[in-house]
Protein backbone atom coordinates (compact mmCIF):
# COMPACT_ATOMS: atom_id res chain seq x y z
CA UNK A 1 0.00 0.00 0.00
CA UNK A 2 2.66 2.52 1.13
CA UNK A 3 4.77 1.29 -1.72
CA UNK A 4 2.02 2.01 -4.22
CA UNK A 5 1.49 5.48 -2.86
CA UNK A 6 5.17 6.16 -3.17
CA UNK A 7 5.21 5.12 -6.80
CA UNK A 8 2.25 7.28 -7.70
CA UNK A 9 3.27 10.21 -5.57
CA UNK A 10 5.23 12.05 -8.30
CA UNK A 11 2.37 11.72 -10.77
CA UNK A 12 0.00 12.89 -8.14
CA UNK A 13 2.09 16.02 -7.71
CA UNK A 14 2.18 16.71 -11.41
CA UNK A 15 -1.46 16.05 -12.02
CA UNK A 16 -2.80 19.50 -11.04
CA UNK A 17 -0.51 21.18 -13.53
CA UNK A 18 -1.45 18.83 -16.30
CA UNK A 19 -5.14 19.10 -15.61
CA UNK A 20 -4.98 22.83 -15.44
CA UNK A 21 -3.13 23.15 -18.70
CA UNK A 22 -5.38 20.70 -20.44
CA UNK A 23 -8.44 22.65 -19.36
CA UNK A 24 -7.16 26.09 -20.18
CA UNK A 25 -4.64 25.61 -22.95
CA UNK A 26 -5.36 22.40 -24.76
CA UNK A 27 -8.53 23.53 -26.48
CA UNK A 28 -7.13 26.79 -27.84
CA UNK A 29 -4.01 24.99 -29.00
CA UNK A 30 -5.99 22.33 -30.78
CA UNK A 31 -8.14 25.03 -32.30
CA UNK A 32 -5.12 26.92 -33.56
CA UNK A 33 -3.52 23.83 -34.98
CA UNK A 34 -6.78 22.97 -36.65
CA UNK A 35 -6.90 26.37 -38.32
CA UNK A 36 -3.30 26.13 -39.40
CA UNK A 37 -4.13 23.01 -41.35
CA UNK A 38 -7.37 24.16 -42.91
CA UNK A 39 -7.90 26.14 -46.09
CA UNK A 40 -6.99 25.28 -49.61
CA UNK A 41 -4.09 25.05 -49.81
CA UNK A 42 -3.70 24.67 -46.03
CA UNK A 43 -2.73 27.88 -44.28
CA UNK A 44 0.63 26.41 -43.40
CA UNK A 45 1.36 26.03 -47.10
CA UNK A 46 0.10 29.51 -47.89
CA UNK A 47 2.87 30.88 -45.71
CA UNK A 48 5.37 30.02 -48.37
CA UNK A 49 3.49 31.68 -51.17
CA UNK A 50 5.01 35.07 -50.56
CA UNK A 51 8.40 33.50 -50.33
CA UNK A 52 10.32 36.79 -50.28
CA UNK A 53 8.47 37.91 -47.23
CA UNK A 54 8.77 34.48 -45.64
CA UNK A 55 12.52 34.54 -46.10
CA UNK A 56 12.74 37.98 -44.61
CA UNK A 57 10.71 36.98 -41.58
CA UNK A 58 12.84 33.93 -40.96
CA UNK A 59 16.00 35.93 -41.47
CA UNK A 60 15.12 38.56 -38.91
CA UNK A 61 13.78 36.04 -36.45
CA UNK A 62 16.96 34.05 -36.53
CA UNK A 63 19.16 37.11 -36.51
CA UNK A 64 17.53 38.51 -33.40
CA UNK A 65 17.43 35.21 -31.62
CA UNK A 66 20.99 34.19 -32.28
CA UNK A 67 22.33 37.52 -31.15
CA UNK A 68 20.09 38.16 -28.21
CA UNK A 69 19.99 34.81 -26.48
CA UNK A 70 23.70 34.02 -26.33
CA UNK A 71 24.39 37.59 -25.28
CA UNK A 72 21.88 37.38 -22.50
CA UNK A 73 23.16 34.06 -21.33
CA UNK A 74 26.73 35.24 -21.26
CA UNK A 75 25.90 38.46 -19.49
CA UNK A 76 23.72 36.61 -17.01
CA UNK A 77 26.46 34.14 -16.16
CA UNK A 78 29.05 36.83 -15.70
CA UNK A 79 26.69 38.95 -13.70
CA UNK A 80 25.86 36.00 -11.46
CA UNK A 81 29.54 35.51 -10.82
CA UNK A 82 29.98 39.19 -10.28
CA UNK A 83 27.21 39.33 -7.71
CA UNK A 84 28.87 36.63 -5.67
CA UNK A 85 31.31 39.38 -4.72
CA UNK A 86 30.42 41.03 -1.49
CA UNK A 87 30.64 44.78 -1.63
CA UNK A 88 28.89 47.76 -0.17
CA UNK A 89 25.71 48.56 -2.04
CA UNK A 90 25.59 45.14 -3.64
CA UNK A 91 21.96 44.64 -2.74
CA UNK A 92 21.03 47.91 -4.36
CA UNK A 93 22.90 47.27 -7.58
CA UNK A 94 21.43 43.80 -7.65
CA UNK A 95 18.02 45.34 -7.30
CA UNK A 96 18.71 47.64 -10.23
CA UNK A 97 19.93 44.77 -12.29
CA UNK A 98 16.84 42.67 -11.79
CA UNK A 99 14.44 45.58 -12.10
CA UNK A 100 13.79 45.03 -15.80
CA UNK A 101 12.27 41.66 -14.94
CA UNK A 102 9.14 43.54 -14.06
CA UNK A 103 9.25 45.92 -16.97
CA UNK A 104 6.99 44.90 -19.76
CA UNK A 105 8.16 44.33 -23.28
CA UNK A 106 6.34 47.35 -24.46
CA UNK A 107 7.50 49.61 -21.68
CA UNK A 108 11.05 48.40 -22.25
CA UNK A 109 10.77 49.29 -25.89
CA UNK A 110 9.44 52.72 -24.98
CA UNK A 111 12.43 53.34 -22.73
CA UNK A 112 14.83 52.56 -25.50
CA UNK A 113 12.83 54.54 -27.94
CA UNK A 114 13.43 57.46 -25.60
CA UNK A 115 17.11 56.73 -25.72
CA UNK A 116 17.54 56.51 -29.45
CA UNK A 117 14.78 58.51 -31.10
CA UNK A 118 15.87 61.59 -33.00
CA UNK A 119 14.95 63.68 -29.98
CA UNK A 120 16.10 61.05 -27.56
CA UNK A 121 18.77 61.20 -24.93
CA UNK A 122 21.61 59.98 -27.09
CA UNK A 123 21.03 62.42 -29.89
CA UNK A 124 20.35 65.34 -27.64
CA UNK A 125 23.40 64.53 -25.58
CA UNK A 126 25.67 64.30 -28.58
CA UNK A 127 24.31 67.50 -29.99
CA UNK A 128 24.58 69.20 -26.64
CA UNK A 129 28.18 68.08 -26.37
CA UNK A 130 28.77 69.52 -29.78
CA UNK A 131 29.80 66.22 -31.27
CA UNK A 132 27.22 66.56 -34.00
CA UNK A 133 24.68 69.03 -35.26
CA UNK A 134 22.07 66.75 -36.69
CA UNK A 135 20.58 63.73 -35.04
CA UNK A 136 21.63 60.22 -35.96
CA UNK A 137 18.57 58.25 -36.94
CA UNK A 138 18.09 54.80 -35.56
CA UNK A 139 14.60 54.08 -36.74
CA UNK A 140 13.05 53.76 -40.14
CA UNK A 141 13.31 51.57 -43.18
CA UNK A 142 16.67 52.97 -44.21
CA UNK A 143 18.15 52.31 -40.80
CA UNK A 144 17.00 48.81 -40.21
CA UNK A 145 20.49 47.74 -39.21
CA UNK A 146 20.61 50.36 -36.51
CA UNK A 147 17.11 49.52 -35.43
CA UNK A 148 18.18 45.95 -35.02
CA UNK A 149 20.97 47.14 -32.81
CA UNK A 150 18.49 49.04 -30.66
CA UNK A 151 16.21 46.01 -30.51
CA UNK A 152 19.11 43.87 -29.40
CA UNK A 153 20.12 46.44 -26.80
CA UNK A 154 16.58 46.70 -25.55
CA UNK A 155 16.18 42.96 -25.31
CA UNK A 156 19.48 42.58 -23.56
CA UNK A 157 18.64 45.38 -21.21
CA UNK A 158 15.19 44.11 -20.41
CA UNK A 159 15.26 40.33 -20.62
CA UNK A 160 18.74 39.55 -19.36
CA UNK A 161 17.37 40.07 -15.90
CA UNK A 162 15.17 37.00 -15.97
CA UNK A 163 17.95 34.82 -17.31
CA UNK A 164 20.08 36.29 -14.60
CA UNK A 165 17.63 35.59 -11.80
CA UNK A 166 17.36 31.98 -12.82
CA UNK A 167 21.08 31.52 -13.09
CA UNK A 168 21.80 33.52 -9.99
CA UNK A 169 19.33 31.42 -8.05
CA UNK A 170 21.14 28.38 -9.36
CA UNK A 171 24.63 29.59 -8.62
CA UNK A 172 23.66 30.31 -5.06
CA UNK A 173 22.79 26.68 -4.54
CA UNK A 174 26.32 25.69 -5.44
CA UNK A 175 28.70 25.14 -2.60
CA UNK A 176 31.23 27.92 -2.79
CA UNK A 177 34.01 25.53 -1.93
CA UNK A 178 33.81 24.03 -5.39
CA UNK A 179 34.95 27.36 -6.73
CA UNK A 180 37.54 27.75 -4.03
CA UNK A 181 38.99 24.38 -4.88
CA UNK A 182 39.38 25.57 -8.45
CA UNK A 183 41.12 28.72 -7.25
CA UNK A 184 43.50 26.76 -5.14
CA UNK A 185 44.44 24.48 -7.97
CA UNK A 186 45.41 27.39 -10.12
CA UNK A 187 42.43 27.63 -12.44
CA UNK A 188 42.23 30.99 -14.05
CA UNK A 189 38.91 32.74 -14.39
CA UNK A 190 38.03 31.13 -17.70
CA UNK A 191 39.07 27.67 -16.71
CA UNK A 192 37.00 27.93 -13.58
CA UNK A 193 34.09 29.10 -15.67
CA UNK A 194 34.43 26.36 -18.21
CA UNK A 195 35.16 23.39 -16.00
CA UNK A 196 33.34 24.21 -12.80
CA UNK A 197 30.81 27.00 -12.97
CA UNK A 198 29.07 26.25 -16.23
CA UNK A 199 28.83 22.47 -15.74
CA UNK A 200 27.45 22.95 -12.25
CA UNK A 201 24.98 25.48 -13.58
CA UNK A 202 23.72 23.20 -16.33
CA UNK A 203 20.20 22.78 -14.96
CA UNK A 204 19.75 26.50 -14.53
CA UNK A 205 21.24 27.28 -17.91
CA UNK A 206 18.93 24.80 -19.52
CA UNK A 207 15.92 26.34 -17.86
CA UNK A 208 16.99 29.84 -18.70
CA UNK A 209 17.60 28.94 -22.31
CA UNK A 210 14.29 27.24 -22.76
CA UNK A 211 12.44 30.12 -21.22
CA UNK A 212 14.32 32.75 -23.10
CA UNK A 213 13.95 30.99 -26.40
CA UNK A 214 10.28 30.50 -25.88
CA UNK A 215 9.88 34.15 -25.15
CA UNK A 216 12.24 35.40 -27.78
CA UNK A 217 10.13 33.73 -30.42
CA UNK A 218 7.12 35.53 -29.06
CA UNK A 219 8.45 39.05 -28.70
CA UNK A 220 6.06 41.43 -30.38
CA UNK A 221 6.03 44.76 -28.61
CA UNK A 222 9.63 45.85 -29.00
CA UNK A 223 9.75 44.78 -32.62
CA UNK A 224 6.60 46.66 -33.47
CA UNK A 225 7.48 49.73 -31.49
CA UNK A 226 11.10 49.98 -32.47
CA UNK A 227 11.11 48.22 -35.80
CA UNK A 228 7.78 49.39 -37.07
CA UNK A 229 6.40 47.58 -40.03
CA UNK A 230 9.60 46.75 -41.77
CA UNK A 231 11.33 44.46 -39.35
CA UNK A 232 9.18 41.39 -39.37
CA UNK A 233 9.62 38.34 -37.25
CA UNK A 234 7.48 35.26 -36.83
CA UNK A 235 5.62 36.62 -33.84
CA UNK A 236 4.77 39.92 -35.46
CA UNK A 237 3.53 38.03 -38.48
CA UNK A 238 1.05 36.30 -36.23
CA UNK A 239 -0.22 39.64 -35.04
CA UNK A 240 -0.13 41.13 -38.51
CA UNK A 241 -2.20 38.39 -40.06
CA UNK A 242 -4.47 38.29 -37.13
CA UNK A 243 -5.23 41.94 -36.64
CA UNK A 244 -4.34 43.64 -39.93
CA UNK A 245 -5.34 41.07 -42.42
CA UNK A 246 -7.93 39.42 -40.19
CA UNK A 247 -6.90 36.05 -41.41
CA UNK A 248 -6.82 33.82 -38.34
CA UNK A 249 -5.83 30.88 -40.50
CA UNK A 250 -2.50 32.23 -41.60
CA UNK A 251 -1.99 33.76 -38.19
CA UNK A 252 -2.48 30.32 -36.70
CA UNK A 253 -0.17 28.82 -39.24
CA UNK A 254 2.59 31.18 -38.21
CA UNK A 255 1.80 30.49 -34.59
CA UNK A 256 2.08 26.78 -35.14
CA UNK A 257 5.38 27.30 -36.89
CA UNK A 258 6.64 29.31 -33.92
CA UNK A 259 5.44 26.53 -31.66
CA UNK A 260 7.17 23.81 -33.59
CA UNK A 261 10.46 25.66 -33.74
CA UNK A 262 10.50 26.49 -30.05
CA UNK A 263 9.47 23.03 -29.09
CA UNK A 264 12.19 21.45 -31.15
CA UNK A 265 14.73 23.84 -29.72
CA UNK A 266 13.58 23.08 -26.19
CA UNK A 267 14.08 19.39 -26.76
CA UNK A 268 17.52 20.15 -28.11
CA UNK A 269 18.40 22.17 -25.05
CA UNK A 270 17.21 19.43 -22.77
CA UNK A 271 19.37 16.96 -24.64
CA UNK A 272 22.34 19.25 -24.76
CA UNK A 273 22.28 20.31 -21.16
CA UNK A 274 21.24 17.11 -19.54
CA UNK A 275 22.80 17.49 -16.13
CA UNK A 276 25.75 15.16 -15.67
CA UNK A 277 24.97 12.07 -13.66
CA UNK A 278 26.74 13.42 -10.66
CA UNK A 279 25.16 16.79 -10.44
Amino acid sequence: MEQKIRIFFPYFLILPTLIYEVFISAYPIAYAIGMAFSGNPPALVQLFQDFERFKEVIFYTILIIVTVIPLQLIIAIFASIFFLNRFRGRELVLYFFILPVAISEVAGALFWYTMFSSSGLLNKLLIWLGVMHNPVYFFGYEFRDRTLLVIVLEEVWRATAIVFTIIYAGIQMINREYFEAADVFGFNFWQKLRYITVPLLKPSIQTALIIRTLFAFQIVGPILILGGEYIRVMATEVVYWYSQRMDPYIASAWAVLVGVVTFVLSILYIRMFRAGEGA
Partner: protein
Protein backbone atom coordinates in the same frame (compact mmCIF):
# COMPACT_ATOMS: atom_id res chain seq x y z
CA UNK B 1 42.53 47.33 -7.07
CA UNK B 2 40.03 44.55 -7.34
CA UNK B 3 37.69 46.52 -5.13
CA UNK B 4 37.91 49.46 -7.49
CA UNK B 5 37.06 47.22 -10.41
CA UNK B 6 34.10 45.79 -8.56
CA UNK B 7 32.74 49.23 -7.79
CA UNK B 8 33.35 50.34 -11.32
CA UNK B 9 31.37 47.44 -12.70
CA UNK B 10 28.63 48.04 -10.14
CA UNK B 11 28.46 51.63 -11.24
CA UNK B 12 28.30 50.73 -14.92
CA UNK B 13 25.57 48.21 -14.28
CA UNK B 14 23.51 50.79 -12.43
CA UNK B 15 24.07 53.31 -15.17
CA UNK B 16 23.11 50.82 -17.86
CA UNK B 17 19.89 49.92 -16.15
CA UNK B 18 18.85 53.25 -14.77
CA UNK B 19 19.64 55.69 -17.56
CA UNK B 20 16.70 54.79 -19.83
CA UNK B 21 14.36 54.62 -16.88
CA UNK B 22 15.37 57.86 -15.27
CA UNK B 23 15.42 59.78 -18.49
CA UNK B 24 12.06 58.49 -19.56
CA UNK B 25 10.52 59.24 -16.20
CA UNK B 26 11.94 62.72 -16.40
CA UNK B 27 10.60 63.13 -19.90
CA UNK B 28 7.16 62.00 -18.81
CA UNK B 29 6.88 65.00 -16.52
CA UNK B 30 8.28 67.42 -19.06
CA UNK B 31 6.40 69.80 -21.23
CA UNK B 32 6.75 68.18 -24.60
CA UNK B 33 8.00 71.17 -26.54
CA UNK B 34 10.49 71.90 -23.85
CA UNK B 35 11.59 68.29 -23.90
CA UNK B 36 12.31 68.48 -27.60
CA UNK B 37 14.46 71.52 -27.11
CA UNK B 38 16.49 70.74 -24.03
CA UNK B 39 18.64 67.89 -22.94
CA UNK B 40 17.33 68.32 -19.42
CA UNK B 41 13.79 69.71 -19.68
CA UNK B 42 13.07 72.91 -17.82
CA UNK B 43 9.28 72.96 -17.71
CA UNK B 44 7.31 70.23 -16.06
CA UNK B 45 3.68 69.22 -16.08
CA UNK B 46 1.43 66.51 -14.72
CA UNK B 47 -0.91 66.82 -17.66
CA UNK B 48 -0.29 63.43 -19.19
CA UNK B 49 -0.73 61.65 -15.92
CA UNK B 50 -3.95 63.49 -15.27
CA UNK B 51 -5.20 62.38 -18.63
CA UNK B 52 -4.28 58.78 -17.92
CA UNK B 53 -5.87 59.03 -14.54
CA UNK B 54 -9.10 60.17 -16.15
CA UNK B 55 -8.97 57.16 -18.37
CA UNK B 56 -9.10 54.87 -15.36
CA UNK B 57 -5.48 53.90 -15.26
CA UNK B 58 -5.65 53.89 -11.49
CA UNK B 59 -8.19 51.10 -11.52
CA UNK B 60 -6.35 49.24 -14.20
CA UNK B 61 -3.24 49.40 -12.09
CA UNK B 62 -4.97 47.95 -9.07
CA UNK B 63 -6.46 45.27 -11.28
CA UNK B 64 -3.11 44.44 -12.77
CA UNK B 65 -1.56 44.05 -9.37
CA UNK B 66 -4.44 41.90 -8.21
CA UNK B 67 -4.17 39.69 -11.23
CA UNK B 68 -0.40 39.53 -10.97
CA UNK B 69 -0.44 38.48 -7.35
CA UNK B 70 -3.27 36.02 -7.91
CA UNK B 71 -1.36 34.55 -10.80
CA UNK B 72 1.73 34.08 -8.66
CA UNK B 73 -0.32 32.42 -5.95
CA UNK B 74 -2.32 30.19 -8.24
CA UNK B 75 0.59 29.14 -10.38
CA UNK B 76 2.67 28.42 -7.29
CA UNK B 77 -0.11 26.44 -5.73
CA UNK B 78 -0.51 24.30 -8.80
CA UNK B 79 2.98 24.37 -10.18
CA UNK B 80 5.32 23.92 -7.25
CA UNK B 81 4.32 20.33 -6.53
CA UNK B 82 5.03 19.51 -10.14
CA UNK B 83 8.30 21.40 -10.05
CA UNK B 84 9.26 19.47 -6.96
CA UNK B 85 8.35 16.13 -8.50
CA UNK B 86 10.28 16.82 -11.67
CA UNK B 87 13.27 18.27 -9.94
CA UNK B 88 13.52 15.96 -7.00
CA UNK B 89 11.82 12.66 -7.56
CA UNK B 90 12.71 9.89 -9.91
CA UNK B 91 9.89 8.36 -11.87
CA UNK B 92 9.17 7.01 -15.27
CA UNK B 93 8.31 9.42 -18.04
CA UNK B 94 9.76 12.37 -16.24
CA UNK B 95 11.31 13.90 -19.31
CA UNK B 96 8.27 13.47 -21.48
CA UNK B 97 6.04 14.98 -18.85
CA UNK B 98 8.37 17.92 -18.58
CA UNK B 99 8.18 18.39 -22.32
CA UNK B 100 4.43 18.05 -22.34
CA UNK B 101 4.11 20.82 -19.80
CA UNK B 102 6.39 22.95 -21.88
CA UNK B 103 4.41 22.19 -24.96
CA UNK B 104 1.48 24.14 -23.57
CA UNK B 105 3.43 27.30 -23.87
CA UNK B 106 4.95 27.24 -27.31
CA UNK B 107 2.18 28.94 -29.25
CA UNK B 108 1.92 32.72 -29.32
CA UNK B 109 -0.77 33.93 -27.03
CA UNK B 110 -2.82 35.72 -29.68
CA UNK B 111 -4.03 32.60 -31.34
CA UNK B 112 -4.80 30.99 -28.03
CA UNK B 113 -6.66 33.89 -26.53
CA UNK B 114 -9.43 34.12 -29.07
CA UNK B 115 -10.89 30.64 -28.65
CA UNK B 116 -10.47 31.14 -24.93
CA UNK B 117 -12.49 34.34 -25.09
CA UNK B 118 -15.38 32.47 -26.68
CA UNK B 119 -15.29 29.86 -23.93
CA UNK B 120 -15.03 32.46 -21.21
CA UNK B 121 -18.01 34.32 -22.65
CA UNK B 122 -20.06 31.19 -22.41
CA UNK B 123 -19.14 30.44 -18.83
CA UNK B 124 -19.26 34.00 -17.61
CA UNK B 125 -15.58 34.50 -17.00
CA UNK B 126 -15.22 37.01 -19.77
CA UNK B 127 -14.05 40.42 -18.65
CA UNK B 128 -13.40 39.30 -15.08
CA UNK B 129 -10.27 39.47 -13.02
CA UNK B 130 -10.53 35.81 -12.35
CA UNK B 131 -10.77 34.96 -16.02
CA UNK B 132 -7.63 36.87 -16.82
CA UNK B 133 -5.92 35.26 -13.84
CA UNK B 134 -6.85 31.85 -15.18
CA UNK B 135 -5.36 32.64 -18.54
CA UNK B 136 -2.24 34.16 -17.05
CA UNK B 137 -1.78 31.21 -14.78
CA UNK B 138 -1.96 28.90 -17.75
CA UNK B 139 0.74 30.95 -19.38
CA UNK B 140 2.95 31.19 -16.32
CA UNK B 141 2.52 27.66 -15.05
CA UNK B 142 4.93 25.83 -17.34
CA UNK B 143 7.64 28.29 -16.42
CA UNK B 144 7.01 28.03 -12.74
CA UNK B 145 7.34 24.27 -13.06
CA UNK B 146 10.47 24.59 -15.13
CA UNK B 147 12.25 27.07 -12.89
CA UNK B 148 11.35 25.47 -9.61
CA UNK B 149 12.28 22.03 -10.86
CA UNK B 150 15.76 23.11 -11.78
CA UNK B 151 16.14 24.71 -8.39
CA UNK B 152 14.76 21.78 -6.44
CA UNK B 153 17.23 19.59 -8.25
CA UNK B 154 20.01 21.53 -6.56
CA UNK B 155 18.97 20.98 -2.95
CA UNK B 156 21.40 18.64 -1.19
CA UNK B 157 19.58 15.42 -0.58
CA UNK B 158 20.97 14.78 2.88
CA UNK B 159 19.31 17.91 4.23
CA UNK B 160 15.93 16.46 3.38
CA UNK B 161 16.95 13.07 4.65
CA UNK B 162 17.84 14.64 7.96
CA UNK B 163 14.29 15.94 8.02
CA UNK B 164 12.85 12.51 7.37
CA UNK B 165 14.93 10.94 10.06
CA UNK B 166 13.84 13.44 12.65
CA UNK B 167 10.23 12.65 11.99
CA UNK B 168 9.21 15.53 9.76
CA UNK B 169 6.38 14.63 7.45
CA UNK B 170 6.84 15.10 3.73
CA UNK B 171 4.95 18.33 3.97
CA UNK B 172 7.00 19.57 6.89
CA UNK B 173 10.22 18.72 5.13
CA UNK B 174 8.98 20.62 2.18
CA UNK B 175 7.90 23.70 4.05
CA UNK B 176 10.58 23.84 6.71
CA UNK B 177 13.64 22.65 4.85
CA UNK B 178 13.31 22.53 1.10
CA UNK B 179 11.26 25.64 0.62
CA UNK B 180 13.53 28.01 2.54
CA UNK B 181 16.51 26.54 0.74
CA UNK B 182 15.01 27.20 -2.64
CA UNK B 183 13.94 30.71 -1.70
CA UNK B 184 16.11 32.24 -4.42
CA UNK B 185 14.60 29.94 -6.99
CA UNK B 186 11.12 30.64 -5.79
CA UNK B 187 11.83 34.32 -5.92
CA UNK B 188 12.95 33.88 -9.49
CA UNK B 189 9.84 31.88 -10.31
CA UNK B 190 7.62 34.36 -8.49
CA UNK B 191 9.11 37.25 -10.34
CA UNK B 192 8.62 35.37 -13.48
CA UNK B 193 4.98 34.58 -12.91
CA UNK B 194 4.28 38.13 -11.91
CA UNK B 195 6.18 39.42 -14.87
CA UNK B 196 4.23 37.28 -17.25
CA UNK B 197 0.96 38.48 -15.88
CA UNK B 198 2.06 42.05 -15.51
CA UNK B 199 3.33 42.32 -19.05
CA UNK B 200 0.78 40.25 -20.81
CA UNK B 201 -1.18 42.45 -23.16
CA UNK B 202 -2.69 40.25 -25.78
CA UNK B 203 -4.76 37.86 -23.71
CA UNK B 204 -5.78 40.63 -21.35
CA UNK B 205 -6.93 42.71 -24.26
CA UNK B 206 -8.89 39.94 -25.82
CA UNK B 207 -10.39 38.60 -22.60
CA UNK B 208 -11.54 41.93 -21.22
CA UNK B 209 -12.74 45.21 -22.36
CA UNK B 210 -14.05 47.05 -19.36
CA UNK B 211 -11.89 45.49 -16.71
CA UNK B 212 -8.63 46.01 -18.47
CA UNK B 213 -5.29 45.42 -16.95
CA UNK B 214 -2.86 48.26 -17.00
CA UNK B 215 -0.90 47.14 -20.03
CA UNK B 216 -4.07 46.36 -21.88
CA UNK B 217 -5.50 49.74 -21.02
CA UNK B 218 -2.38 51.66 -21.86
CA UNK B 219 -0.67 49.61 -24.46
CA UNK B 220 -3.33 47.75 -26.35
CA UNK B 221 -3.09 50.11 -29.31
CA UNK B 222 0.47 49.07 -29.87
CA UNK B 223 -0.11 45.45 -29.99
CA UNK B 224 -3.53 44.85 -31.33
CA UNK B 225 -4.28 47.99 -33.11
CA UNK B 226 -1.42 48.43 -35.53
CA UNK B 227 -3.12 50.61 -38.13
CA UNK B 228 -6.36 51.32 -36.43
CA UNK B 229 -5.42 53.39 -33.46
CA UNK B 230 -2.07 54.59 -34.60
CA UNK B 231 0.67 55.23 -32.18
CA UNK B 232 0.76 57.36 -29.13
CA UNK B 233 2.42 60.75 -29.17
CA UNK B 234 5.74 60.89 -27.36
CA UNK B 235 4.62 62.32 -24.02
CA UNK B 236 2.00 59.62 -23.64
CA UNK B 237 4.62 57.04 -24.35
CA UNK B 238 6.82 58.37 -21.60
CA UNK B 239 3.97 58.52 -19.15
CA UNK B 240 2.75 55.06 -20.08
CA UNK B 241 6.20 53.58 -19.59
CA UNK B 242 6.54 55.35 -16.27
CA UNK B 243 3.18 54.18 -15.00
CA UNK B 244 4.13 50.66 -15.98
CA UNK B 245 7.31 50.57 -13.95
CA UNK B 246 6.22 52.01 -10.65
CA UNK B 247 4.51 48.89 -9.31
CA UNK B 248 7.32 46.88 -10.84
CA UNK B 249 9.77 48.77 -8.67
CA UNK B 250 7.75 47.97 -5.59
CA UNK B 251 7.22 44.34 -6.42
CA UNK B 252 10.87 43.78 -7.13
CA UNK B 253 11.91 45.51 -3.95
CA UNK B 254 9.73 43.12 -2.04
CA UNK B 255 10.79 39.93 -3.74
CA UNK B 256 14.44 40.79 -4.11
CA UNK B 257 15.34 39.78 -0.61
CA UNK B 258 14.38 36.23 -1.35
CA UNK B 259 16.69 36.17 -4.29
CA UNK B 260 19.71 36.68 -2.09
CA UNK B 261 19.72 33.87 0.38
CA UNK B 262 20.45 35.21 3.81
CA UNK B 263 22.41 32.32 5.21
CA UNK B 264 25.37 32.42 2.91
CA UNK B 265 25.88 29.59 0.52
CA UNK B 266 23.25 26.93 0.77
CA UNK B 267 25.45 24.04 -0.18
CA UNK B 268 26.69 22.00 2.68
CA UNK B 269 28.88 19.44 1.14
Amino acid sequence: MRKVLVYLIAFLISLWILTPIIYTVLASFADILDYYQHLIPQKYTLKYYEEYWRLGVGDALVRSIEIGVLTVLLSFLIGIPAGYAIGRLKFRGRNSIQLTILFFRVLPIVVMAVPLAVVFLKIGLYDTIFGVTLAHTAIALPFVVLITSSIFAGVPRDLEEAGTVFGLSSLQIFTKITLPLVAPGLAAAGMFAFLISWNEVVASTILTYLNRTLPAAVLAPYVMGMGAAGQLPDPYRFAAATIMIIPAFLFMAYIRKYLTAMWGSAGVR
